[in-house]
Symmetry: C2
Subunit: 330 residues, 2 copies
């Protein structure tokens, strides 16, 4: 790997060149290691955007919510970047025609930049590549960067850690969904939205969410923010103004009191990004050193043949790579 220092794309991106942005994000998505010098340069120009995460199961109307919120930001003259890491999202090309047509007004708006992340590679670089894409959209000068994810998995939790403000969306009567939120995502939500609130059971769902939040109120007592639970009907544009105001309020909350909360949030974001980068780079360099994937496949063969086991093989590799004798830290 030659250390490349070209930052041609970065220079163009800082000037707002949309094609350069698209090219770099594609290269990030492809896992091209030569993006690093560009990202290093861009990082100096990032850090001024409000990064907002939207997450929730397929079918909760998340894309419509995002669409409505984007319109509010545009109405206030803010530029918006959107990263869709949702396989069901119209942004990422997975959705039905209706959704796609609905979003076209933003596709035609120069103040909105939309890009999807497809990386679901076998080395799990999705969180890392999403964090990199956020840096790119921040550096291109977007006031707001929206990250749309789907589901309740670890990826979504990790990606939520890249946001300043995380909106969790659900719909009435999704009992299972609320259980999932409880189990995995409750801790990361700054705002909760019950969309399609004209459906039966909306009041009950809102009540349940509020109860769950109150039960974990020590968490919020510590940091001073009690996540609101909002009712929306994104398809009819109802409740969206309230959601928009709540998003802005959360940002003001983070900035209040001398910016200590915002600093803490940034620190968490950076810490998680560092861990992801370290994991990926260590594995990449390690594979390179041992002879890349074919060498690892060879070891896998030996394990299947019963000559060794994954735990011993891994320990040997780690010791070889980090240059430590067995048990030297005893």
């Amino acid at each position: 790997m030659r250390p490349r220092t070209t930052t041609v794309l970065a220079n163009k991106i800082i000037q707002g060149d949309v094609r350069a942005v698209a090219r770099l994000i594609r290269r990030i998505d492809d896992g091209d290691p030569e993006v690093i010098p560009e990202l290093r340069k861009l990082y100096l120009h990032a850090g001024r955007s409000h990064v907002i995460g939207f997450t929730g199961s397929p079918g909760v109307g998340k894309s419509t919510l995002v669409d409505r919120i984007v319109s509010r930001f545009r109405g206030d003259g803010k530029t918006v970047g959107i990263i869709a890491v949702d396989p069901t999202s119209p942004f990422s090309g997975g959705a039905i025609l209706g959704d796609r047509i609905r979003m076209q007004r933003h596709f035609l708006d120069a103040g909105v930049f939309i890009r999807s992340m497809a990386t679901r590679g076998s080395f799990g670089g999705l969180t890392r590549s999403t964090a990199d894409a956020i840096v790119v959209l921040e550096a291109m000068g977007k006031d707001v960067v929206i990250v749309e994810t789907v589901g309740v998995g670890q990826d979504e939790v990790d990606i939520a850690h890249s946001a300043h403000t995380t909106v969790l969306a659900t719909v009435p009567g999704m009992g299972d969904d609320i259980q999932a939120i409880k189990a995995g995502l409750m801790e990361i939500g700054d705002l909760f939205v019950v969309n399609k609130a004209d459906r039966e059971g909306a009041a009950k769902t809102i009540r349940e969410l509020r109860t769950m939040l109150e039960m974990s109120s020590e968490r919020y007592a510590a940091d001073g923010w009690m996540p609101p639970v909002l009712a929306t009907q994104a398809a009819n544009d109802e409740g969206i103004d309230e959601l928009y105001q709540a998003i802005l309020e959360h940002r003001r909350f983070l900035e209040s009191g001398g910016g200590e909360k915002l600093w803490k949030r940034q620190q968490t974001r950076v810490y998680n990004q560092l861990v992801d980068l370290l994991k990926e780079h260590l594995l990449g360099r390690a594979l390179q050193k041992i002879g890349d994937r074919p060498a690892l496949a060879g070891i896998a063969d030996r394990i299947v043949a019963g000559e060794t086991d994954p735990y011993s093989a891994c320990q040997e590799l780690v010791e070889r790579l980090l240059g430590e004798a067995k048990g030297d830290s005893q």
Copy 2:
């Protein structure tokens, strides 16, 4: 980290001691590094079980499907281990009372061992800890190990790579869900189930899935298995015999032709497990070497303060850890 070689739990587990199994799985879930010698020992006794993954969104009736299939295996005199990595599963304690009561007959059956994995830690060890738990249940002598996951994220794809046979479940009319399957999971399904098939639109959903499978038929032409699409009503025990037979048939398929296909599947499982182990161990040792998480938090602080950026900081750390000068591989 002292190299510990006690395999007290492993010896008990091989003899089928349920409490030892529970204890070791809890320690795996907690990320205790001292489980390694135990796992190394257990690995020698693993590899004879049929590992079956069940995945699908919340609400598709996955737990009821698993419940029914477990009954079939028990009826044939097979012992079953279940690992629930689904926050909405009755096994993992997240679900409504009805589900929990429904599953109690298996809780009281000594031939069935059920354990949930909770690890959604910040270092994303879920796939790794699930793979370890599979080894434990295999070594305790279970004929069949079922891994139940939820959703469409990378975790589920990764965990599916730990199975010999993966069953993907959906319900009629979940258009979004099918899109999600298409985007993320299509490639990993060996069997597709449309549950709640008495609902409107079942025939259409089945047709759509079959079309999608046929469109990607080159994949299947190469390996010779065309995933069937089955209609079930798990709550009424309908279609379950057909699903059970299809699962057994897939196992026979893997074993056919001299076992080459099974070997390949095992090799893929092991390869993925190795990558996960490597990632986690490299990061663990790396953190240890640089002064653990507080040291990393200190670097994060410097980044937030604008003194460096994550990319440069990570590169420095990797170079320090792997003892390479900048650009030495030029």
